[in-house]
Symmetry: C2
Subunit: 319 residues, 2 copies
Protein backbone atom coordinates (compact mmCIF):
# COMPACT_ATOMS: atom_id res chain seq x y z
CA UNK A 1 0.00 0.00 0.00
CA UNK A 2 1.42 3.38 -0.98
CA UNK A 3 -0.46 6.66 -0.57
CA UNK A 4 1.65 9.76 -0.22
CA UNK A 5 -0.81 11.43 2.18
CA UNK A 6 -0.30 8.74 4.83
CA UNK A 7 1.48 9.91 8.00
CA UNK A 8 2.68 7.75 10.88
CA UNK A 9 2.67 8.78 14.54
CA UNK A 10 5.03 6.90 16.84
CA UNK A 11 3.47 6.86 20.32
CA UNK A 12 5.95 4.34 21.75
CA UNK A 13 6.88 6.34 24.85
CA UNK A 14 3.43 7.74 25.54
CA UNK A 15 1.50 4.46 25.27
CA UNK A 16 4.37 2.29 26.53
CA UNK A 17 4.68 4.53 29.60
CA UNK A 18 1.21 3.43 30.68
CA UNK A 19 2.80 0.06 31.56
CA UNK A 20 5.45 1.36 33.96
CA UNK A 21 4.17 4.80 35.04
CA UNK A 22 6.64 6.42 32.61
CA UNK A 23 9.69 5.10 34.45
CA UNK A 24 11.81 4.82 31.32
CA UNK A 25 15.53 5.58 31.45
CA UNK A 26 16.64 8.59 29.45
CA UNK A 27 18.82 6.50 27.16
CA UNK A 28 15.78 4.38 26.23
CA UNK A 29 13.64 7.40 25.35
CA UNK A 30 16.50 9.05 23.46
CA UNK A 31 17.14 5.82 21.52
CA UNK A 32 13.45 5.64 20.56
CA UNK A 33 13.56 9.25 19.39
CA UNK A 34 16.70 8.64 17.33
CA UNK A 35 15.09 5.58 15.73
CA UNK A 36 11.97 7.59 14.88
CA UNK A 37 14.11 10.34 13.32
CA UNK A 38 16.14 7.90 11.25
CA UNK A 39 13.08 5.86 10.24
CA UNK A 40 11.36 8.98 8.89
CA UNK A 41 8.17 8.77 10.92
CA UNK A 42 6.09 11.94 10.87
CA UNK A 43 5.22 12.43 14.56
CA UNK A 44 6.84 11.32 17.82
CA UNK A 45 4.68 11.40 20.93
CA UNK A 46 7.00 11.60 23.92
CA UNK A 47 4.47 11.48 26.74
CA UNK A 48 1.59 13.12 28.51
CA UNK A 49 1.62 16.70 29.70
CA UNK A 50 -0.25 16.38 32.98
CA UNK A 51 -0.23 18.77 35.92
CA UNK A 52 1.53 17.58 39.05
CA UNK A 53 -1.22 16.96 41.64
CA UNK A 54 -2.06 14.78 44.61
CA UNK A 55 -3.15 12.10 42.14
CA UNK A 56 -0.01 12.60 40.04
CA UNK A 57 2.87 13.37 42.42
CA UNK A 58 6.10 13.89 40.54
CA UNK A 59 8.09 11.40 42.59
CA UNK A 60 5.80 8.47 41.75
CA UNK A 61 5.47 9.16 38.06
CA UNK A 62 8.19 9.35 35.49
CA UNK A 63 9.12 12.58 33.78
CA UNK A 64 7.29 11.69 30.56
CA UNK A 65 4.00 12.01 32.40
CA UNK A 66 4.69 15.74 32.66
CA UNK A 67 6.94 16.45 29.64
CA UNK A 68 8.67 19.58 30.85
CA UNK A 69 10.01 21.63 27.97
CA UNK A 70 13.63 21.30 29.06
CA UNK A 71 13.36 17.48 29.13
CA UNK A 72 11.90 17.45 25.64
CA UNK A 73 14.69 19.75 24.46
CA UNK A 74 17.30 17.43 26.01
CA UNK A 75 15.81 14.55 24.03
CA UNK A 76 15.81 16.56 20.80
CA UNK A 77 19.40 17.71 21.37
CA UNK A 78 20.51 14.11 21.99
CA UNK A 79 20.11 13.39 18.28
CA UNK A 80 21.76 15.13 15.34
CA UNK A 81 19.37 13.84 12.67
CA UNK A 82 18.68 16.06 9.67
CA UNK A 83 14.97 15.32 9.50
CA UNK A 84 12.87 15.03 12.63
CA UNK A 85 9.33 14.02 13.44
CA UNK A 86 6.97 16.67 14.79
CA UNK A 87 7.05 16.48 18.60
CA UNK A 88 3.75 15.50 20.17
CA UNK A 89 2.30 15.26 23.68
CA UNK A 90 -1.03 14.01 24.95
CA UNK A 91 -3.50 16.00 27.01
CA UNK A 92 -5.98 14.17 29.28
CA UNK A 93 -9.20 16.07 29.95
CA UNK A 94 -9.35 17.05 33.63
CA UNK A 95 -5.66 16.47 34.37
CA UNK A 96 -3.99 19.40 32.59
CA UNK A 97 -3.56 23.15 33.01
CA UNK A 98 -3.66 24.76 29.60
CA UNK A 99 -2.92 28.19 31.11
CA UNK A 100 0.63 26.97 31.72
CA UNK A 101 1.18 25.91 28.09
CA UNK A 102 3.49 28.28 26.22
CA UNK A 103 2.70 29.48 22.72
CA UNK A 104 3.86 26.96 20.14
CA UNK A 105 6.60 29.21 18.82
CA UNK A 106 8.26 29.21 22.26
CA UNK A 107 7.86 25.46 22.81
CA UNK A 108 9.60 22.26 21.60
CA UNK A 109 6.12 20.76 21.15
CA UNK A 110 4.47 20.84 17.71
CA UNK A 111 1.22 18.95 18.27
CA UNK A 112 -1.06 18.48 21.29
CA UNK A 113 -3.42 15.50 21.20
CA UNK A 114 -6.39 15.71 23.53
CA UNK A 115 -7.92 12.44 24.78
CA UNK A 116 -11.43 12.27 26.22
CA UNK A 117 -14.38 9.95 26.55
CA UNK A 118 -17.59 10.66 24.66
CA UNK A 119 -19.16 12.10 27.83
CA UNK A 120 -16.39 14.73 28.03
CA UNK A 121 -16.27 15.72 24.40
CA UNK A 122 -17.24 19.36 25.13
CA UNK A 123 -14.32 19.63 27.54
CA UNK A 124 -12.12 18.00 24.95
CA UNK A 125 -13.16 20.42 22.23
CA UNK A 126 -12.52 23.32 24.62
CA UNK A 127 -8.97 22.09 25.25
CA UNK A 128 -8.36 21.60 21.54
CA UNK A 129 -9.54 25.17 20.84
CA UNK A 130 -7.22 26.59 23.48
CA UNK A 131 -4.20 24.58 22.28
CA UNK A 132 -4.99 25.57 18.69
CA UNK A 133 -5.17 29.23 19.77
CA UNK A 134 -1.60 28.83 21.07
CA UNK A 135 -0.50 27.70 17.63
CA UNK A 136 -0.31 23.91 18.00
CA UNK A 137 -1.43 21.29 15.54
CA UNK A 138 -4.24 19.37 17.26
CA UNK A 139 -6.09 16.09 17.43
CA UNK A 140 -9.10 14.95 19.41
CA UNK A 141 -8.91 11.28 20.41
CA UNK A 142 -12.35 10.07 21.46
CA UNK A 143 -11.72 7.02 23.62
CA UNK A 144 -13.73 3.80 23.78
CA UNK A 145 -16.32 4.52 21.08
CA UNK A 146 -16.97 0.75 20.98
CA UNK A 147 -18.54 1.13 24.42
CA UNK A 148 -20.45 4.36 23.73
CA UNK A 149 -24.18 4.59 23.16
CA UNK A 150 -24.45 5.44 19.48
CA UNK A 151 -26.79 8.41 19.87
CA UNK A 152 -24.28 10.02 22.26
CA UNK A 153 -21.39 9.27 19.90
CA UNK A 154 -23.29 10.73 16.94
CA UNK A 155 -24.01 13.91 18.89
CA UNK A 156 -20.34 14.19 19.86
CA UNK A 157 -19.26 13.71 16.25
CA UNK A 158 -21.59 16.51 15.20
CA UNK A 159 -20.00 18.89 17.69
CA UNK A 160 -16.50 17.88 16.59
CA UNK A 161 -17.50 18.48 12.99
CA UNK A 162 -18.19 22.14 13.82
CA UNK A 163 -14.89 22.58 15.70
CA UNK A 164 -12.47 23.64 12.98
CA UNK A 165 -9.67 23.76 15.55
CA UNK A 166 -9.62 19.92 15.49
CA UNK A 167 -7.04 19.08 12.82
CA UNK A 168 -7.60 15.32 13.17
CA UNK A 169 -10.38 13.31 14.75
CA UNK A 170 -9.20 9.89 15.98
CA UNK A 171 -11.07 6.62 15.86
CA UNK A 172 -9.65 4.85 18.92
CA UNK A 173 -10.13 1.13 19.56
CA UNK A 174 -9.39 1.51 23.28
CA UNK A 175 -10.48 -2.00 24.22
CA UNK A 176 -9.08 -3.84 21.19
CA UNK A 177 -12.64 -4.89 20.44
CA UNK A 178 -13.07 -4.02 16.77
CA UNK A 179 -13.04 -6.45 13.86
CA UNK A 180 -12.16 -5.05 10.43
CA UNK A 181 -15.80 -4.87 9.35
CA UNK A 182 -16.48 -2.72 12.43
CA UNK A 183 -13.55 -0.45 11.60
CA UNK A 184 -15.19 0.15 8.24
CA UNK A 185 -18.60 0.75 9.82
CA UNK A 186 -17.25 3.23 12.40
CA UNK A 187 -15.23 5.10 9.80
CA UNK A 188 -18.43 5.44 7.77
CA UNK A 189 -20.19 6.74 10.88
CA UNK A 190 -17.41 9.24 11.61
CA UNK A 191 -17.43 10.39 7.97
CA UNK A 192 -21.20 10.76 7.98
CA UNK A 193 -21.42 12.89 11.13
CA UNK A 194 -18.02 14.62 11.08
CA UNK A 195 -17.35 14.98 7.35
CA UNK A 196 -15.13 18.04 7.78
CA UNK A 197 -12.62 16.32 10.04
CA UNK A 198 -9.65 14.34 8.65
CA UNK A 199 -9.38 11.05 10.50
CA UNK A 200 -6.70 9.24 12.47
CA UNK A 201 -6.70 5.68 13.84
CA UNK A 202 -5.29 4.17 17.04
CA UNK A 203 -5.65 0.41 17.59
CA UNK A 204 -4.98 -2.06 20.40
CA UNK A 205 -3.83 -5.62 19.94
CA UNK A 206 -6.10 -7.58 22.27
CA UNK A 207 -7.30 -9.88 19.48
CA UNK A 208 -4.13 -9.71 17.34
CA UNK A 209 -5.91 -7.15 15.18
CA UNK A 210 -4.10 -3.84 15.84
CA UNK A 211 -1.99 -4.11 12.68
CA UNK A 212 -4.73 -5.52 10.46
CA UNK A 213 -7.26 -2.96 11.69
CA UNK A 214 -4.74 -0.22 10.92
CA UNK A 215 -4.50 -1.66 7.41
CA UNK A 216 -8.29 -1.61 7.19
CA UNK A 217 -8.32 2.05 8.27
CA UNK A 218 -5.79 2.78 5.52
CA UNK A 219 -7.93 0.94 2.97
CA UNK A 220 -10.89 2.99 4.19
CA UNK A 221 -8.97 6.23 3.57
CA UNK A 222 -7.54 7.18 6.99
CA UNK A 223 -4.23 9.04 6.63
CA UNK A 224 -2.87 9.46 10.19
CA UNK A 225 -1.88 6.21 11.89
CA UNK A 226 -0.61 5.46 15.37
CA UNK A 227 1.92 2.71 15.99
CA UNK A 228 4.56 1.83 18.59
CA UNK A 229 7.96 0.22 18.34
CA UNK A 230 7.58 -3.53 18.91
CA UNK A 231 3.89 -2.93 19.63
CA UNK A 232 4.65 -1.72 23.16
CA UNK A 233 1.65 -0.26 25.00
CA UNK A 234 -0.76 -0.83 27.78
CA UNK A 235 -2.11 -4.36 28.04
CA UNK A 236 -1.98 -6.10 24.67
CA UNK A 237 -0.16 -3.12 23.19
CA UNK A 238 -0.55 -1.39 19.87
CA UNK A 239 0.06 -1.72 16.17
CA UNK A 240 3.73 -2.67 15.65
CA UNK A 241 5.49 0.23 13.94
CA UNK A 242 7.93 -2.08 12.15
CA UNK A 243 5.11 -4.16 10.63
CA UNK A 244 3.31 -0.98 9.56
CA UNK A 245 6.41 0.53 7.92
CA UNK A 246 6.92 -2.76 6.04
CA UNK A 247 3.33 -2.52 4.80
CA UNK A 248 3.64 1.12 3.74
CA UNK A 249 5.76 1.26 0.64
CA UNK A 250 6.61 4.95 0.96
CA UNK A 251 10.37 5.31 0.36
CA UNK A 252 10.53 8.08 2.97
CA UNK A 253 10.38 5.36 5.62
CA UNK A 254 13.32 3.15 6.64
CA UNK A 255 12.46 0.25 8.95
CA UNK A 256 16.06 -0.65 9.82
CA UNK A 257 16.48 1.86 12.69
CA UNK A 258 13.31 0.41 14.23
CA UNK A 259 14.62 -3.15 14.13
CA UNK A 260 17.95 -1.90 15.52
CA UNK A 261 16.35 -0.24 18.55
CA UNK A 262 14.21 -3.33 19.13
CA UNK A 263 17.31 -5.50 19.18
CA UNK A 264 19.27 -3.14 21.42
CA UNK A 265 16.61 -1.71 23.75
CA UNK A 266 13.32 -3.62 23.54
CA UNK A 267 14.63 -7.18 23.79
CA UNK A 268 16.16 -6.48 27.25
CA UNK A 269 13.11 -4.39 28.22
CA UNK A 270 10.87 -7.42 27.60
CA UNK A 271 12.58 -9.06 30.59
CA UNK A 272 11.38 -6.19 32.81
CA UNK A 273 7.85 -5.37 31.69
CA UNK A 274 5.15 -7.21 29.73
CA UNK A 275 3.14 -6.18 26.74
CA UNK A 276 1.50 -7.89 23.78
CA UNK A 277 -1.24 -10.37 22.96
CA UNK A 278 -2.18 -13.18 25.30
CA UNK A 279 -5.30 -15.22 25.99
CA UNK A 280 -6.54 -12.94 28.77
CA UNK A 281 -6.40 -9.76 26.68
CA UNK A 282 -7.99 -11.67 23.80
CA UNK A 283 -11.01 -12.33 26.02
CA UNK A 284 -11.26 -8.74 27.30
CA UNK A 285 -11.08 -7.45 23.72
CA UNK A 286 -13.75 -9.87 22.52
CA UNK A 287 -15.99 -8.84 25.41
CA UNK A 288 -15.41 -5.13 24.65
CA UNK A 289 -14.20 -4.49 28.19
CA UNK A 290 -11.78 -1.98 29.65
CA UNK A 291 -8.50 -3.92 30.09
CA UNK A 292 -8.18 -3.15 33.81
CA UNK A 293 -9.53 -6.53 34.97
CA UNK A 294 -7.27 -8.33 32.48
CA UNK A 295 -4.25 -6.27 33.57
CA UNK A 296 -4.97 -7.04 37.21
CA UNK A 297 -5.13 -10.76 36.43
CA UNK A 298 -1.87 -10.64 34.46
CA UNK A 299 -0.17 -9.07 37.48
CA UNK A 300 -1.07 -12.08 39.63
CA UNK A 301 1.43 -14.93 39.11
CA UNK A 302 -1.08 -17.53 40.30
CA UNK A 303 -3.89 -16.42 38.03
CA UNK A 304 -2.28 -14.82 35.00
CA UNK A 305 -2.78 -17.74 32.61
CA UNK A 306 -6.17 -18.97 33.84
CA UNK A 307 -7.99 -17.97 30.66
CA UNK A 308 -10.87 -20.41 31.09
CA UNK A 309 -11.64 -19.11 34.57
CA UNK A 310 -11.36 -15.51 33.32
CA UNK A 311 -13.69 -16.20 30.39
CA UNK A 312 -16.35 -17.89 32.53
CA UNK A 313 -16.19 -15.24 35.27
CA UNK A 314 -16.32 -12.41 32.77
CA UNK A 315 -19.36 -13.90 31.03
CA UNK A 316 -21.07 -14.49 34.38
CA UNK A 317 -20.54 -10.83 35.26
CA UNK A 318 -22.18 -9.96 31.96
CA UNK A 319 -25.29 -11.98 32.77
CA UNK B 1 -20.11 -12.68 11.34
CA UNK B 2 -22.63 -15.50 10.99
CA UNK B 3 -23.01 -17.64 7.87
CA UNK B 4 -24.42 -21.08 8.35
CA UNK B 5 -22.26 -22.59 5.59
CA UNK B 6 -19.03 -21.82 7.45
CA UNK B 7 -17.11 -24.87 8.71
CA UNK B 8 -14.06 -24.88 10.96
CA UNK B 9 -11.18 -27.37 10.74
CA UNK B 10 -9.03 -27.77 13.86
CA UNK B 11 -5.51 -28.73 12.71
CA UNK B 12 -3.94 -28.28 16.16
CA UNK B 13 -2.19 -31.63 16.31
CA UNK B 14 -1.19 -31.78 12.65
CA UNK B 15 0.31 -28.27 12.41
CA UNK B 16 1.51 -28.18 16.02
CA UNK B 17 3.30 -31.47 15.50
CA UNK B 18 5.59 -29.79 12.99
CA UNK B 19 7.21 -28.07 15.99
CA UNK B 20 8.15 -31.20 17.93
CA UNK B 21 8.16 -33.99 15.31
CA UNK B 22 4.76 -35.11 16.60
CA UNK B 23 6.09 -36.05 20.04
CA UNK B 24 2.86 -35.20 21.84
CA UNK B 25 1.71 -37.25 24.80
CA UNK B 26 -1.49 -39.22 24.27
CA UNK B 27 -3.30 -37.31 27.01
CA UNK B 28 -2.55 -34.03 25.20
CA UNK B 29 -3.91 -35.26 21.86
CA UNK B 30 -6.94 -36.82 23.52
CA UNK B 31 -7.62 -33.56 25.41
CA UNK B 32 -7.45 -31.60 22.15
CA UNK B 33 -9.88 -34.03 20.53
CA UNK B 34 -12.29 -33.78 23.45
CA UNK B 35 -12.15 -29.99 23.30
CA UNK B 36 -12.85 -30.06 19.56
CA UNK B 37 -15.83 -32.39 20.12
CA UNK B 38 -17.28 -30.24 22.87
CA UNK B 39 -16.62 -26.98 21.01
CA UNK B 40 -18.54 -28.24 17.99
CA UNK B 41 -15.83 -27.78 15.37
CA UNK B 42 -16.51 -29.54 12.09
CA UNK B 43 -13.19 -31.28 11.36
CA UNK B 44 -10.30 -32.47 13.53
CA UNK B 45 -6.99 -33.12 11.79
CA UNK B 46 -5.01 -35.51 13.96
CA UNK B 47 -1.80 -35.71 11.98
CA UNK B 48 -0.09 -36.77 8.78
CA UNK B 49 -0.37 -40.22 7.29
CA UNK B 50 3.14 -40.74 5.99
CA UNK B 51 4.87 -43.99 5.13
CA UNK B 52 7.63 -45.09 7.47
CA UNK B 53 10.88 -44.71 5.50
CA UNK B 54 14.58 -43.97 5.91
CA UNK B 55 13.65 -40.27 6.00
CA UNK B 56 10.78 -40.93 8.41
CA UNK B 57 11.86 -43.70 10.80
CA UNK B 58 9.15 -44.49 13.28
CA UNK B 59 11.40 -44.17 16.33
CA UNK B 60 12.35 -40.56 15.58
CA UNK B 61 8.89 -39.33 14.70
CA UNK B 62 5.81 -39.37 16.85
CA UNK B 63 2.84 -41.56 16.10
CA UNK B 64 0.80 -38.69 14.65
CA UNK B 65 3.16 -38.54 11.71
CA UNK B 66 1.82 -41.95 10.67
CA UNK B 67 -1.71 -41.99 12.11
CA UNK B 68 -2.28 -45.73 12.33
CA UNK B 69 -5.96 -46.56 12.37
CA UNK B 70 -5.82 -48.16 15.82
CA UNK B 71 -4.24 -45.02 17.31
CA UNK B 72 -6.95 -42.86 15.77
CA UNK B 73 -9.59 -45.24 17.14
CA UNK B 74 -8.03 -45.04 20.60
CA UNK B 75 -8.33 -41.27 20.45
CA UNK B 76 -11.94 -41.42 19.31
CA UNK B 77 -12.79 -43.96 22.03
CA UNK B 78 -11.21 -41.76 24.69
CA UNK B 79 -14.13 -39.35 24.42
CA UNK B 80 -17.82 -40.04 24.89
CA UNK B 81 -19.09 -36.90 23.16
CA UNK B 82 -22.41 -37.08 21.33
CA UNK B 83 -21.32 -35.01 18.36
CA UNK B 84 -17.87 -35.41 16.83
CA UNK B 85 -15.85 -33.61 14.21
CA UNK B 86 -15.02 -35.46 11.02
CA UNK B 87 -11.57 -37.07 11.44
CA UNK B 88 -8.96 -35.74 9.06
CA UNK B 89 -5.38 -36.59 8.12
CA UNK B 90 -2.91 -34.88 5.82
CA UNK B 91 -1.18 -36.50 2.86
CA UNK B 92 2.16 -35.11 1.64
CA UNK B 93 2.89 -35.73 -2.02
CA UNK B 94 5.85 -38.11 -2.35
CA UNK B 95 5.77 -39.38 1.24
CA UNK B 96 2.64 -41.57 1.28
CA UNK B 97 1.49 -44.96 -0.03
CA UNK B 98 -2.12 -44.68 -1.09
CA UNK B 99 -2.26 -48.42 -1.87
CA UNK B 100 -2.19 -49.03 1.90
CA UNK B 101 -5.15 -46.76 2.60
CA UNK B 102 -8.30 -48.70 3.46
CA UNK B 103 -11.66 -47.78 1.95
CA UNK B 104 -13.31 -45.03 3.96
CA UNK B 105 -16.05 -47.27 5.29
CA UNK B 106 -13.42 -49.46 7.00
CA UNK B 107 -11.42 -46.52 8.40
CA UNK B 108 -11.74 -44.07 11.29
CA UNK B 109 -10.68 -41.32 8.86
CA UNK B 110 -13.32 -39.22 7.11
CA UNK B 111 -11.29 -36.71 5.11
CA UNK B 112 -7.84 -36.83 3.50
CA UNK B 113 -6.18 -33.49 2.75
CA UNK B 114 -3.41 -33.61 0.17
CA UNK B 115 -0.68 -30.95 0.39
CA UNK B 116 1.58 -30.15 -2.56
CA UNK B 117 3.52 -27.30 -4.12
CA UNK B 118 2.40 -25.82 -7.43
CA UNK B 119 5.09 -27.83 -9.24
CA UNK B 120 3.56 -31.08 -7.96
CA UNK B 121 -0.07 -30.30 -8.56
CA UNK B 122 -0.54 -33.21 -11.00
CA UNK B 123 0.74 -35.60 -8.37
CA UNK B 124 -1.52 -33.92 -5.86
CA UNK B 125 -4.58 -34.28 -8.07
CA UNK B 126 -3.72 -37.96 -8.64
CA UNK B 127 -3.61 -38.58 -4.89
CA UNK B 128 -6.89 -36.73 -4.39
CA UNK B 129 -8.53 -38.86 -7.08
CA UNK B 130 -7.32 -42.07 -5.48
CA UNK B 131 -8.43 -41.04 -1.98
CA UNK B 132 -11.79 -39.92 -3.37
CA UNK B 133 -12.16 -43.30 -5.11
CA UNK B 134 -11.78 -44.90 -1.67
CA UNK B 135 -14.70 -42.84 -0.41
CA UNK B 136 -12.99 -40.02 1.50
CA UNK B 137 -13.91 -36.38 1.50
CA UNK B 138 -10.93 -34.55 0.00
CA UNK B 139 -9.07 -31.27 -0.16
CA UNK B 140 -6.10 -30.12 -2.17
CA UNK B 141 -3.86 -27.67 -0.27
CA UNK B 142 -1.59 -25.88 -2.72
CA UNK B 143 1.30 -24.63 -0.62
CA UNK B 144 3.19 -21.35 -0.93
CA UNK B 145 1.19 -19.73 -3.76
CA UNK B 146 2.69 -16.40 -2.62
CA UNK B 147 6.04 -17.66 -3.97
CA UNK B 148 4.68 -19.24 -7.17
CA UNK B 149 5.07 -17.76 -10.63
CA UNK B 150 1.55 -16.68 -11.50
CA UNK B 151 1.39 -18.37 -14.90
CA UNK B 152 2.24 -21.70 -13.23
CA UNK B 153 -0.32 -21.12 -10.50
CA UNK B 154 -3.01 -20.25 -13.05
CA UNK B 155 -2.29 -23.41 -15.01
CA UNK B 156 -2.48 -25.48 -11.80
CA UNK B 157 -5.79 -23.86 -10.87
CA UNK B 158 -7.17 -24.76 -14.30
CA UNK B 159 -6.27 -28.41 -13.78
CA UNK B 160 -7.77 -28.43 -10.29
CA UNK B 161 -10.94 -26.91 -11.69
CA UNK B 162 -11.40 -29.98 -13.89
CA UNK B 163 -10.76 -32.42 -11.03
CA UNK B 164 -14.20 -32.94 -9.55
CA UNK B 165 -12.69 -35.27 -6.95
CA UNK B 166 -11.32 -32.16 -5.16
CA UNK B 167 -14.05 -31.25 -2.69
CA UNK B 168 -12.18 -28.15 -1.45
CA UNK B 169 -9.28 -26.19 -2.90
CA UNK B 170 -7.23 -24.45 -0.21
CA UNK B 171 -5.62 -21.04 -0.40
CA UNK B 172 -2.59 -21.54 1.87
CA UNK B 173 -0.50 -18.63 3.18
CA UNK B 174 2.47 -20.90 3.93
CA UNK B 175 4.91 -18.09 4.61
CA UNK B 176 2.56 -15.74 6.48
CA UNK B 177 3.20 -13.22 3.73
CA UNK B 178 -0.27 -12.11 2.70
CA UNK B 179 -1.97 -8.84 3.64
CA UNK B 180 -5.76 -8.76 3.56
CA UNK B 181 -5.84 -7.05 0.16
CA UNK B 182 -3.74 -9.92 -1.21
CA UNK B 183 -6.08 -12.48 0.31
CA UNK B 184 -8.87 -10.83 -1.65
CA UNK B 185 -6.79 -10.73 -4.84
CA UNK B 186 -5.79 -14.41 -4.60
CA UNK B 187 -9.32 -15.51 -3.83
CA UNK B 188 -10.44 -13.65 -6.95
CA UNK B 189 -7.70 -15.45 -8.90
CA UNK B 190 -8.72 -18.85 -7.52
CA UNK B 191 -12.38 -18.12 -8.31
CA UNK B 192 -11.52 -17.00 -11.84
CA UNK B 193 -9.47 -20.07 -12.77
CA UNK B 194 -11.06 -22.73 -10.54
CA UNK B 195 -14.69 -21.57 -10.36
CA UNK B 196 -16.03 -25.09 -9.76
CA UNK B 197 -14.03 -25.66 -6.57
CA UNK B 198 -15.30 -24.56 -3.15
CA UNK B 199 -12.48 -22.83 -1.28
CA UNK B 200 -10.75 -23.26 2.06
CA UNK B 201 -8.19 -21.01 3.77
CA UNK B 202 -5.14 -21.78 5.93
CA UNK B 203 -3.15 -18.84 7.35
CA UNK B 204 0.10 -18.38 9.24
CA UNK B 205 0.73 -15.73 11.85
CA UNK B 206 4.14 -14.34 10.88
CA UNK B 207 2.85 -10.78 10.67
CA UNK B 208 0.05 -11.13 13.26
CA UNK B 209 -2.38 -11.57 10.37
CA UNK B 210 -3.51 -15.21 10.53
CA UNK B 211 -6.77 -14.36 12.30
CA UNK B 212 -7.49 -11.18 10.35
CA UNK B 213 -6.70 -12.86 7.03
CA UNK B 214 -9.08 -15.67 7.97
CA UNK B 215 -11.72 -13.01 8.61
CA UNK B 216 -10.95 -11.53 5.21
CA UNK B 217 -11.36 -14.95 3.59
CA UNK B 218 -14.75 -15.25 5.31
CA UNK B 219 -15.76 -11.80 4.07
CA UNK B 220 -14.68 -12.91 0.59
CA UNK B 221 -16.93 -15.96 0.80
CA UNK B 222 -14.64 -18.82 1.87
CA UNK B 223 -16.51 -21.40 3.93
CA UNK B 224 -13.87 -23.86 5.21
CA UNK B 225 -11.39 -22.38 7.67
CA UNK B 226 -8.34 -23.83 9.38
CA UNK B 227 -7.41 -22.83 12.92
CA UNK B 228 -5.46 -24.30 15.84
CA UNK B 229 -5.97 -24.16 19.58
CA UNK B 230 -3.95 -21.24 20.98
CA UNK B 231 -2.55 -20.65 17.47
CA UNK B 232 -0.07 -23.52 17.85
CA UNK B 233 1.79 -24.41 14.66
CA UNK B 234 5.13 -24.29 12.94
CA UNK B 235 7.03 -21.04 13.37
CA UNK B 236 4.65 -18.18 14.04
CA UNK B 237 1.73 -20.57 14.22
CA UNK B 238 -1.77 -20.34 12.85
CA UNK B 239 -5.10 -18.64 13.30
CA UNK B 240 -6.16 -19.02 16.94
CA UNK B 241 -9.23 -21.25 17.06
CA UNK B 242 -10.59 -19.50 20.16
CA UNK B 243 -10.43 -16.06 18.48
CA UNK B 244 -12.10 -17.47 15.38
CA UNK B 245 -14.94 -19.11 17.34
CA UNK B 246 -15.49 -15.80 19.16
CA UNK B 247 -15.75 -14.08 15.77
CA UNK B 248 -18.15 -16.65 14.32
CA UNK B 249 -21.52 -16.17 15.93
CA UNK B 250 -22.85 -19.62 15.03
CA UNK B 251 -24.49 -21.05 18.18
CA UNK B 252 -23.27 -24.52 17.24
CA UNK B 253 -19.83 -23.47 18.53
CA UNK B 254 -18.87 -23.24 22.22
CA UNK B 255 -15.49 -21.63 22.91
CA UNK B 256 -15.32 -22.65 26.57
CA UNK B 257 -13.82 -26.15 26.01
CA UNK B 258 -11.07 -24.49 23.96
CA UNK B 259 -10.17 -22.04 26.73
CA UNK B 260 -10.26 -24.92 29.21
CA UNK B 261 -7.79 -27.05 27.26
CA UNK B 262 -5.54 -24.00 26.78
CA UNK B 263 -5.50 -23.43 30.54
CA UNK B 264 -4.91 -27.09 31.36
CA UNK B 265 -2.67 -28.30 28.51
CA UNK B 266 -1.28 -25.42 26.44
CA UNK B 267 -0.07 -23.15 29.24
CA UNK B 268 2.34 -25.85 30.52
CA UNK B 269 3.24 -26.84 26.93
CA UNK B 270 4.39 -23.27 26.27
CA UNK B 271 7.22 -23.92 28.73
CA UNK B 272 8.44 -26.81 26.54
CA UNK B 273 8.05 -25.63 22.95
CA UNK B 274 7.70 -22.25 21.23
CA UNK B 275 5.18 -20.97 18.74
CA UNK B 276 3.61 -17.64 17.89
CA UNK B 277 4.54 -14.23 16.53
CA UNK B 278 7.92 -12.69 17.13
CA UNK B 279 10.13 -10.17 15.31
CA UNK B 280 12.06 -12.81 13.37
CA UNK B 281 8.97 -14.47 11.93
CA UNK B 282 7.55 -11.02 11.17
CA UNK B 283 10.54 -10.37 8.94
CA UNK B 284 10.40 -13.75 7.18
CA UNK B 285 6.69 -13.22 6.51
CA UNK B 286 7.24 -9.73 5.15
CA UNK B 287 10.00 -11.02 2.89
CA UNK B 288 7.76 -13.90 1.69
CA UNK B 289 10.36 -16.48 2.71
CA UNK B 290 10.08 -20.07 3.82
CA UNK B 291 10.35 -19.93 7.64
CA UNK B 292 13.29 -22.36 7.84
CA UNK B 293 15.93 -19.63 8.25
CA UNK B 294 13.82 -17.91 10.89
CA UNK B 295 13.21 -21.21 12.72
CA UNK B 296 16.94 -21.95 12.69
CA UNK B 297 17.68 -18.54 14.18
CA UNK B 298 15.03 -18.97 16.88
CA UNK B 299 16.67 -22.26 17.90
CA UNK B 300 19.97 -20.45 18.63
CA UNK B 301 19.91 -18.84 22.10
CA UNK B 302 22.60 -16.32 21.13
CA UNK B 303 20.89 -15.16 17.96
CA UNK B 304 17.19 -15.69 18.45
CA UNK B 305 16.30 -12.05 19.15
CA UNK B 306 18.73 -10.34 16.80
CA UNK B 307 16.01 -9.03 14.50
CA UNK B 308 18.06 -6.17 13.08
CA UNK B 309 20.87 -8.52 12.04
CA UNK B 310 18.33 -10.96 10.58
CA UNK B 311 16.60 -8.20 8.62
CA UNK B 312 19.83 -6.81 7.17
CA UNK B 313 21.23 -10.25 6.30
CA UNK B 314 17.94 -11.35 4.74
CA UNK B 315 17.76 -8.22 2.60
CA UNK B 316 21.40 -8.61 1.56
CA UNK B 317 20.67 -12.16 0.44
CA UNK B 318 17.83 -10.75 -1.62
CA UNK B 319 20.11 -8.27 -3.39
Amino acid sequence: MFRKEIKVLDCTVRDGGLINQYQFRDDFVHACYRAACEAGVDYFEIGKKLEVSDAYPRDQWGKWNFCDDDEIKRCIDSCDAQTRPAMTVMYDVGRVDVSKLKPADQSPIDMVRTACYVADVDKGIDLVRRTKDLGYETTLNVMAPSAAIEVDLVQALGEINEADEVDYLYLVDSYGAFYSEQITAYIELYRKYAPKRPLGFHGHNNQQLAFSNTQQAIIDGVNLLDATINGIGRGAGNCNLELLLNFLKNPKFDVRPIYRVIQEQFVPLREEIEWGFNDIYGISGYLNQHPRAAMKLRANPEERDRCYDFYVESRNLDG
